[in-house]
Amino acid sequence: MEKQEKIDILKHIIQIKSVNDNETEVADYIASLFEKYPNAKVEKVNYAPNRDNLAVTIGNPKGQRLGFSGHMDVVDPGDLSKWTHDPFGGEVADGKIFGRGASDMKTGLTAQVIAMLEFLEDGVELPGEIRLLATVGEETGEYGAATLTDEGYADNLAGLVISEPSGLDQITYTARGVIDYRIESTGKAAHSARPQNGINAIDNLMVYYNEIQKVMAPFDKVNPILGGVLHNVDLIEGGEQINSIPAKAWLMANMRTIPEYPNQVFYDAIEKLVAELNESPGFDLKLSYSFPEEAIPGQPDAPLVKLAQKVSKETFGKEAQPVGSGGANDGAEFLRAKGDFTSIVYGPGSETSHMPDEYVELADFLKSIDFYKKLALEFLA
């Protein structure tokens, strides 16, 4: 494929507004690129209206199957006045392409798509299969990856390469899990001069806050790469006015877990505390979770990591180093699938993810296509 054609495909994908929605338009466009190759198996997997995941499988089903994956959604462009380029223009300047998703992560996704298209175009006889898993809703909860996993699309992979922008000198092989949860405290309103007639919902929430610190303290194992378990209350709100005993209050906490503990131990600990406190008079605490993800253990010396290091050196002239990530990625969902495989994150991008004037260097984009091709050929060989 010609260089300009590759850039045009990327530009087209950046121009699609898939802000936490509308991923189907991206899926349809990618599907259309594979139309002329009858050997490519293209499947749309619906999550919600206008929100289709896409699975594209090419190659020899008798060999091993390598997964490629990227998400099609992007975050909101935010304050448009802070952009000097149209966030959905895909404008090219100074060897960079600008736009929401240029770094996170339409470039990585496009590079993997083009790698597959070039195999097809060049009639390369792959010794195994490559399956692209393009997902919806990664930015708001990895639910596209969850759907694909639930429906078996990630089963029996031999390895998975997620093209999130890791930086081309870093391979993410391990990642923290995440538990976001909310505690809602219900009390009873009263005039603040007569607190005995009410129940202070904020007071009860603060008791939870104090107790959960004690509950979390014994989980003190430390992962050498990721560090210890993190528990932070990041949001809190309660009360109506200064002279009323508050009837409602809530907090949201963010936990960053490590492979040493399955998330279940934290669910159990939190639920036990909530149940215990609710036994005390006046307490009415409700717990809910939003899209928790397990930690990804990973091995820095896994064959896929080693191979990616070698290919990175060959492609970019510098060997990428295995690292851990403080945040979760779609790999946390895919690893629930049948079969035991290594999931890594490696892809082009810049430090501008989620920021105005998000961009990627076109040179990085083009070279990463070569990277994915080489990696696939050697992995499947």
């Binding site: 976001d180 607190p195 904020i202 104090n210 993190l230 990041d234 809190i236 963010n254």
Partner: protein, 384 residues
């Protein structure tokens, strides 16, 4: 003044929308009522444009000075749909009640003290002593009106004060004070995967609350009438998004003071907590007072309390209760004046203050006028 005029006057004041502002509407109107009389000194004490306090001094003899106080502001109406009458209509019901925001709290008391003074003037009173009407702004919010008048010395020469709040013509002689404060905790934002790069503002705010709560719990005296000091956090808010270490959080809390715990002392304790915590690494807490008013001490056997009780019972024809009140009044500020005078709270009103369909019983309103006249004449004449 005939009954119809007295009711009309109240209605007119109720119809003025003085929701935490625009009290000058009332002050201007009241001033016109006293305009025709000699021996009346009127002082407009401006807080800001549209918000004038009014002080009316009647009589020239300096034997004794009796004050009557009332505030001209009202609280918000809440949802007007929930009212059976428009909240600023001053509608009169079949059972002789006037409905409206402020009818009970406390435009009826305010109108009654004004009419009592006007009627005394018409009778050539007071011949002995002076009556001072103190009409304030902002009692329901910050009490800056009573604070300003106190600081500027308008209460210094009083010998006694009747606060005409709607008590249903029962009597309060003591009440709680109030400190409303806000603490803002400044931290440093960071991605929640790297909390060590940030400072969690919510965490520091929680530490403040636990420390402050324990520290203020040491004020453990009990007032026989008002009970203990109360300290409650009532509003809290912090954080920006779930995956960011919060850079800012604040809480608002309410302290109910008793006479044994002066605002000044409690404030010092609170400030000490803040200062101590701010010396710890990462802490940056700001303290701001939203409202400060002392508790009103009182003695139910005091001469003035007993005198007002006798007069009230004579007027209403039954025994009235003497009690302490949880709510504050302008008295919380007036006690800072140089004078040392007793205060009593008695006025027409119902238990519908701050609620929908607030009302005052007009018979009670009319009785209050008579009561204030009698209290004035007897107090200024005698030495009780």
């Amino acid at each position: 003044m005939d009954q119809q005029e007295k009711i009309k006057l109240l209605q007119r004041i109720v119809q003025m929308e003085t929701v935490n502002d625009h009290e000058s509407l009332v002050a201007d109107y009241l001033a016109t009522l006293f305009q025709p009389y000699p021996n009346v000194e009127m002082t407009r004490v401006r807080y800001k444009s549209g918000r004038d306090n009014l002080v009316v001094t009647i009589g020239t003899d300096h034997h004794r000075q009796l004050g009557f106080a009332g505030h001209m502001d009202v609280v918000a109406t809440g949802d007007p749909q929930k009212w059976d009458h428009a909240p600023f209509s001053g509608d009169i019901t079949d059972d002789f009640k006037m409905v409206g925001r402020g009818a009970s709290d406390m435009k009826a008391g305010l109108a009654a003290m004004v009419i009592a003074a006007l009627e005394l003037l018409d009778q050539g009173e007071p011949q002995h002593g002076q009556i001072k009407l103190i009409c304030t702004i902002a009692e329901e919010s910050t009490m800056v009106g009573s604070e300003q008048l106190t600081k500027e010395g308008y209460l210094d020469d009083l010998d006694a004060l009747v606060i005409c709040e709607g008590s249903g013509l029962d009597i309060s002689y003591t009440h709680n004070g109030d400190i409303d404060y806000r603490v803002t905790s400044h931290g440093k934002a960071a991605h929640s995967a790297s909390p060590e790069m940030g400072v969690n503002a919510i965490e520091n705010l929680m530490t403040f609350w636990h420390t402050a709560k324990a520290e203020l719990a040491k004020f453990d005296e009990t007032d026989a009438v008002l009970g203990n000091l109360l300290h409650n956090v009532t509003v809290i808010k912090g954080g920006e998004q779930i995956n960011s270490i919060p850079a800012e959080a604040d809480l608002e809390a309410n302290i109910r003071l008793i006479p044994q715990t002066p605002a000044k002392v409690v404030k010092q304790r609170l400030e000490a907590v803040i200062a101590t915590l701010n010396q710890q690494p990462g802490f940056e807490l700001d303290l701001e007072y939203l409202l400060v008013g002392d508790a009103l001490p009182g003695d139910q056997n005091g001469d003035f309390v007993q005198f007002v009780k006798r007069e009230t019972e004579a007027e209403v024809g039954h025994e009235v209760t003497l009690s302490g009140d949880k709510g504050t009044t302008d008295g919380s500020k007036f006690i800072d004046s140089k004078g040392d005078f007793p205060m009593v709270i008695v006025g027409p009103g119902s238990n519908t203050a701050h609620q929908v369909n607030e009302y005052v019983d007009l018979n009670q309103y009319l009785k209050a006028i008579e009561l204030y006249k009698n209290i004035s004449l007897k107090f200024l004449e005698g030495d009780n």
